[in-house]
Point group: C2
DNA sequence: CTAAGACCTGTAGTTACTACAGGAGCAAGC
DNA sequence: GCTTGCTCCTGTAGTAACTACAGGTCTTAG
């Protein structure tokens, strides 16, 4: 806590991890990072471990883990006795989510590409895209999930 | 506005379009649906056109358009003189977004699948996934975007 | 007449930040 | 000593697109 030249302020932490200053404070509020020591002036003073923790969190976010998952993974990483099985559970679940999102997006891509191809993009006022959007067939509607319908 | 048996209340509209009642009211607040007529008791009474409009909006959302895009598309659809070119612009931009998201997710999928494969999922306390998450190489960090670094 | 159900308004919660406003500490130059 | 400019502080509000109440009113079937 002695104010040396190498003191890790929030700005330094941000620069060393690539995480926005406001985001760092947000993570602290959310309990993802421990409350750091403070200088006499009330400023946050971080330790080397905090740099590691924050880098870990950043990696998790880059891989698309939720903050909740990141929290779990971090606590597993900090607890020495974390087993592979515990960690793998989190990763596998996320992978399933990613794959399902991927499938969904692939479907969108196909549909949108078909629309783009069908549309001449001219001055015509009869656009096949608008036609497609108006064609909400009940078949497709039912496919999205059955629901009671009044007669 | 005479209360006949076939009056389209918000519940009926919801059932006919598959859009949640609260969402319908939300769309009205956001100006995506016009404020409907009201019954003497103050309840919303919709016309057939509203069913079409809401179905149109639902299709847009299913295709991943933002509400803002949906608003544009709807106003193009309602204005008879909409040209193909105008409509196609919106679709093409969205398609680009979808493709970029798709590329990102494919990258995530690859990375996560590699992690899953590398991890035995056993009782071992030395997990390759945690190792990977701790290995925030500066090379990868730089790849995400150059930034001034303090010495 | 009454109880259940549909509906009303208005507000708050969700995710993961980001963007202020308004103020205070801190280092350097004059 | 004083000012200038930077970093930092707290606290609040905004983002997207809903969803979920709370607490009340209207309507209808029995």
């Amino acid at each position: 806590m002695c104010p040396t030249a190498s003191m890790i302020t929030i700005g330094v932490l941000s620069a060393q991890t690539g995480v926005n200053i406001e985001t760092i404070r947000y993570y602290e509020r959310e309990g993802l990072l421990p409350s750091p020591a403070r200088s006499t002036g009330g400023r946050r003073v971080y330790a080397e471990d905090d740099v590691k923790r924050l880098r870990f969190l950043r990696r998790c976010r880059e891989l698309g883990f939720s903050l909740s998952d990141a929290r779990s993974l971090l606590s597993l990483a900090e607890r020495d006795a974390a087993t592979c099985a515990e960690v793998k559970t989190v990763v596998s679940k996320h992978l399933r989510d990613v794959r399902s999102k991927l499938a969904e997006l692939r479907g969108l891509e196909t549909a949108l590409a078909a629309m783009e191809t069908a549309c001449p993009g001219s001055d015509s006022t009869d656009c096949p895209i608008l036609d497609a959007l108006n064609l909400a067939t009940s078949a497709e509607y039912d496919a999205a999930g059955p629901r009671s319908r009044p007669a």
